[in-house]
């Protein structure tokens, strides 16, 4: 069980919204993490560079966590098999639908993109169904 944390949720949301806004206002780019990751792997593309810079910033934030009084989770409470399966599905799925929680959920919906609204509803629904099954059907 985790506590509802409205203040830190809103503050965190504002911070990541500002991050995404900065990238589109100045560079004209969408802060979609899955797209940035797959684009960064095209090493020969000159546009891989800014993507690596973004990833470096994202990683640095992880190192800054203790300085702002936050700790990162130390582990996943799940098996290796599920971890790898989930990782693969997340990568495969986000590539196919061209976005994830950030690209579709924040930037896409923020631009009122029909595709992003549909994608976000679909992945949220499916994720909720999976949690329902793992926690209340299998785990019950």
């Amino acid at each position: 069980m985790t506590e509802f944390t409205p203040f830190s949720a809103l503050l965190g949301g504002v911070l990541l919204g500002l991050g995404a806004l900065l990238l589109i206002l100045l560079n004209g780019r969408i802060a979609g993490i899955s797209g940035i990751l797959s684009g960064a792997m095209q090493f020969k593309n000159p546009n891989a560079k800014w993507r690596w810079a973004f990833i470096a910033g994202l990683t640095l934030s992880g190192f800054l966590a203790p300085a702002v009084g936050f700790t990162l989770p130390t582990q996943l409470n799940t098996s290796w098999t599920l971890t790898l399966l989930a990782g693969f599905l997340v990568g495969f799925g986000t590539y196919l639908c061209a976005g994830c929680t950030s690209g579709h959920g924040i930037c896409g919906i923020g631009r009122m993109s029909k595709r992003s609204i549909v994608a976000t509803l679909v992945f949220m629904l499916l994720a909720a169904v999976v949690v329902f099954f793992t926690r209340h059907v299998i785990g019950a």
Binding site: M1, T2, F4, S8, A9, L10, G12, G13, L16, G17, L21, L23, L25, L26, N27, G28, G32, S34, S38, K49, A53, A56, G57, L58, T59, L60, S61, L64, V68, F70, P73, T74, T83, L84, G87, F88, L89, V90, G91, F92, Y95, L96, C97, A98, C100, T101, G110, R111, S113, R115, V118, V122, F123, M124, L126, A127, V129, V131, F132, R135
Partner: protein, 154 residues
Amino acid sequence: MLLGPNMNQHPDTSYRLQEFVAFISGCLFGLGLIVSQMVDANKVLNFLDFFGDWDPSLALVMAAGLSVFSFGYVFGVKPKSKPLLDEQFFLPTKTNVDKKLLIGASLFGLGWGLVGICPGPAIVNLVTLNGQFIGFVIAMLLGMLVAKKLIKIT
């Protein structure tokens, strides 16, 4: 996002500046995930668990992120023809809901629901050097590469 190669030529300084902006943007984004605790898989799973001890935090994260972003988009992007540091906005051009979008979003949802980690938190959590987080990211990158190959074939 499927972004093709962009052959625009930039002066070097504009490139450097853009990389710096991307770095700061990534840092802000990551801090947002950390402060809101969205890097914690349990927090995410408890949001997705509508029939358990529901934790609505993620909804507020999205609401706040969306408000800030769409406000800036409406007033800072829409009226303009180009961003501050480049010659054009690089926005997705597709508008139709197709099978790829629906299947992709479904598979992503399945994976997300299984462990509660999506791409952003996956990267931030790498700094813990925990084996399972590293494994998740490797599997995720592999998934992207396989999807890319598959799209090329079909």
